[in-house]
């Protein structure tokens, strides 16, 4: 099962070699990326049954965790890895010309690093992949045809840099307190060591840092500018998939470290603020791509509220919202590519291209949560989770969530109304082609509508795995290790040091008189 490292490594290999290959053989080179992604999907698909039966850990370099780095393969990680590779394949930048090798290399790096984020079982390794995803995204969001994209990318770079520093400080604090970076061992030690203001501060710093990509409330200034000016496929990829990977990392940290009610409450609060600010800004937005960007902030806020709920119900709601948003927001960004510019200019565009208009209405209704569509079920799960939990914070979240849904309905249906209004003067010319992919996503949404029951069962299983902290510990670290939950004060010997040669133990004793 160690082949599961290949979907991370092979795209990196191809990314390095693509500029070399594409110079003499541009025709061959442009097919290599998509072919590789298909192969990766096949590899990950093969691992699915095994990971579904029992999660497993793959030690990289043959060095057992916690000394080495491991990949932790459970159905949650695989689900996200599959989503990344599939969406990467669908949204592949099929550009030609001189820039093609660079763009495709960066796309491969982005896909590889996101897969790494999903699968890695080591905190610092996750940080490395997160950095790689950020740097690759800086290059990809630049659209040479738009000067605005350079400014947006610069702002993205600055905020992302701040986020990286915060994450690094957080990870340093964690390492200083616990002496380990392995997620499973951290989970084991967290109750004893990562308590008090220090542990909470470390978690909040990581929350803010990883939150940059996840469009978390105070660190999301980059979102509207970047999504409005980047190439549409890249906006779709970043908003649809990459933001969810950051959410996955944060959800993993929350479920594994069990930081207590304060941090969970903070996540809920930031999620609420994200909903409020995102949806209101989207309501005021005057062009479609900005509107979608702001509404994505709002929906990520809902996802954060879901994952902040304790227990399986929240994880289930969060996963459903994540998958729904992944399909729908990608589709909407692809549609927005043909409807650039001010909203006023969209008048009658749906009559010119009924298929595009119809798809927009389908996606919009699903986001709002009109009953039979999948978006409704996802939102219903979140409502049930919030209602079951109670308390003033979750009550507020519920109220804000309902209001946000009304606001969403208002602005999305306003656009839909405009699309099918009688055109004033010259109707906008429809862009040629480009609807195949959007139709595919729309079709996927309809398939999900029909298969909502088996989907819910699968997601329920995945959500069970997501919150199963003991399972993570059991399957991550070698079995013969000491029992779980040792923790205690930071000075105590971990089972690891006891398992070492006597020399190692002596050395540690020597260091601590």
């Amino acid at each position: 099962m160690s082949q599961v490292v290949l979907p991370i490594v092979l795209p990196l290999l191809l990314a390095f070699l693509l500029p070399v290959v594409m110079r003499p053989l541009p025709g061959v080179g442009r097919w290599l990326g998509p072919l590789l992604l298909v192969y990766d999907l096949w590899l990950l698909g093969q691992a699915w049954p095994a990971a579904g039966a029992a999660p497993f850990s793959v030690a990289i370099g043959g060095f057992a965790p916690p000394l080495g780095i491991n990949l932790y393969v459970d159905s949650l990680a695989l689900l996200f890895a599959l989503a990344v590779q599939l969406m990467g394949l669908l949204l592949w930048p099929w550009s030609d010309g001189e820039e093609a090798p660079r763009r495709q290399s960066l796309a491969l790096l982005l896909i590889a690093s996101s897969t790494g984020m999903a699968l890695s079982g080591d905190l610092f390794n996750i940080y490395v992949w997160y950095e790689l995803a950020s740097v690759a995204a800086f290059g990809l969001v630049i659209d040479p045809a738009r000067a605005a994209s350079f400014a947006a990318s610069l702002r993205y770079l600055l905020i992302s840099g701040l986020g990286s520093v915060l994450t690094l400080v957080g990870i340093t604090l964690v390492y200083v307190r616990t002496g380990t970076l392995n997620l499973a061992q951290l989970a084991e030690l967290a109750p004893g060591t990562l308590t008090g203001p220090l542990g909470m501060g470390a978690l909040v710093l990581m929350l803010l840092g990883f939150g940059v990509k996840a469009e978390l409330f105070p660190v999301n200034h980059w979102v509207p500018g970047v999504y409005a000016s980047a190439p549409a496929r890249i906006s779709a990829l970043l908003a649809g998939v990459i933001s969810k990977l950051a959410v996955l990392v944060l959800a993993r940290l929350l479920y594994l470290m069990q930081p207590g009610a304060e941090v969970a409450g903070l996540v809920t609060g930031l999620g609420i603020l994200g909903m409020v600010s995102g949806e209101l800004a989207a309501w005021r937005a005057r062009d479609l791509r900005r509107m979608l960007a702001y509404s994505s902030i709002g929906q990520l806020g809902m996802i954060f509220v879901a994952f902040s709920l304790p227990g399986k119900a929240g994880a289930l709601a969060g996963l459903a919202l994540v998958l729904h948003h992944l399909v729908v927001k990608s589709g909407l960004f692809l549609l927005a590519e043909r409807w650039d510019g001010a909203l006023e200019r969209l008048r009658g565009a749906g009559r010119v291209s009924p298929l595009a208009g119809g798809l927009f209405v389908l996606f919009a209704l699903s986001i709002v949560g009109v009953p039979p569509l999948p978006g409704f079920w996802a939102k219903l799960m979140l409502m049930q989770g919030l209602a079951a939990e109670g308390g003033w914070l979750y009550g507020t979240a519920m109220a804000v969530f309902m209001t946000a849904t009304v606001v969403e309905a208002s602005y999305l249906l306003r656009v839909a109304d405009r699309l099918f209004a009688a055109p004033e003067g010259k109707a906008p010319r429809p862009a040629v082609g480009g609807l195949a992919l959007t139709s595919l996503l729309g079709g996927g949404l309809l398939v999900a509508l029909v298969t909502v029951n088996p989907l819910a069962r699968t997601l329920d299983k995945v959500a069970g795995v997501a919150v199963d902290r003991d399972g993570y510990l059991l399957h991550s670290l070698p079995r013969e290790r000491g029992r779980v939950g040792e923790g205690g004060d930071p000075g105590s010997h971990s089972p690891l040091t006891l398992a070492l040669s006597p020399r190692g133990v002596e050395r540690e004793r020597g260091a601590r008189p």
Binding site: G61, N125, G179, L205, S501, R507, R512
Partner: protein, 230 residues
């Protein structure tokens, strides 16, 4: 208003960080991973320089990620800077001392760079440090006589093949031993030049990759009027 919020945010952050540092107890960090690696590494990996064991063996995939970050940065810079029509005024040629001095330094820099890379598993140093020196060696003649054109095709080739080599060594290990990046070829005698299995080879790939990457980055920043790089 925006300035005020930024100030508030920065101030809050500074306060948070200071109050966190104030609660840190110094001098007695728990050495869970550290002591484990110190005890195991010489026998398990066979590098006299334990840092190398961490960088290439225990956390080898992190190093791969870091190489990829450098590559991504150079590639993204290429995308940003490859704008047509950036006219550059004719540079002033360097003086005699500068040019000859650069030519004399070049072989020394290359030798030192390669030495540091080749001894990365024995002494402090290694691929990252040696690679930076190699990049300096590459860049010295360009700085001394600015009219000279950097050779992009060769750089791009080294960039691709060195990175590819690192991964291929890892894949070979996956195929032979069943774990990606597992050291091959045995450990050898601790402290000998030929020891540490495939680790020196990995460091060579790292060194060449880092050198080529930094050179490419600098060459793109020098950007002539035409599309540089690829």
């Amino acid at each position: 208003m925006r300035r005020f919020t930024s100030l508030l945010f920065a101030g809050g952050l500074a306060f948070l960080l200071f109050s966190l540092v104030a609660t840190l107890d110094f001098g007695d960090p728990p050495m869970r991973i550290g002591s484990g690696i110190l005890a195991q590494a010489p026998a398990q990996v066979g590098t006299a320089n334990i840092v190398t064991a961490v960088v290439l063996a225990y956390r080898g995939i992190d190093t791969l990620g870091e190489l990829s970050i450098l590559f991504a940065a150079a590639t993204a810079a290429g995308l940003v800077l490859a704008r047509p029509g950036r006219a550059v005024s004719a540079p002033k040629p360097g003086g005699f001392v500068l040019r000859v001095g650069a030519d004399l330094l070049l072989p020394l820099l290359v030798v030192i760079g390669l030495y540091i890379i080749a001894h990365g598993h024995l002494t402090p140093g290694g691929g990252f440090q040696g690679g930076v020196i190699l990049a300096a060696a590459f860049f010295l003649p360009l700085l001394a006589s600015p009219g000279r054109e950097p050779t992009h095709a060769g750089l791009s080739l080294v960039e691709g093949l060195a990175g590819g080599g690192f991964i291929l060594i890892g894949l070979l290990a996956l195929w032979q031993e069943g774990a990606f990046l597992e050291p091959l070829l045995g450990t050898g005698q601790l402290g000998a030049l030929l020891s540490g299995g495939t680790l020196p080879l990995l460091y060579l790939a790292v060194g060449l990759k880092v050198g080529a990457e930094l050179s490419a980055l600098l060459a793109r920043l020098m950007g002539e009027g035409h599309d540089v790089g690829d």
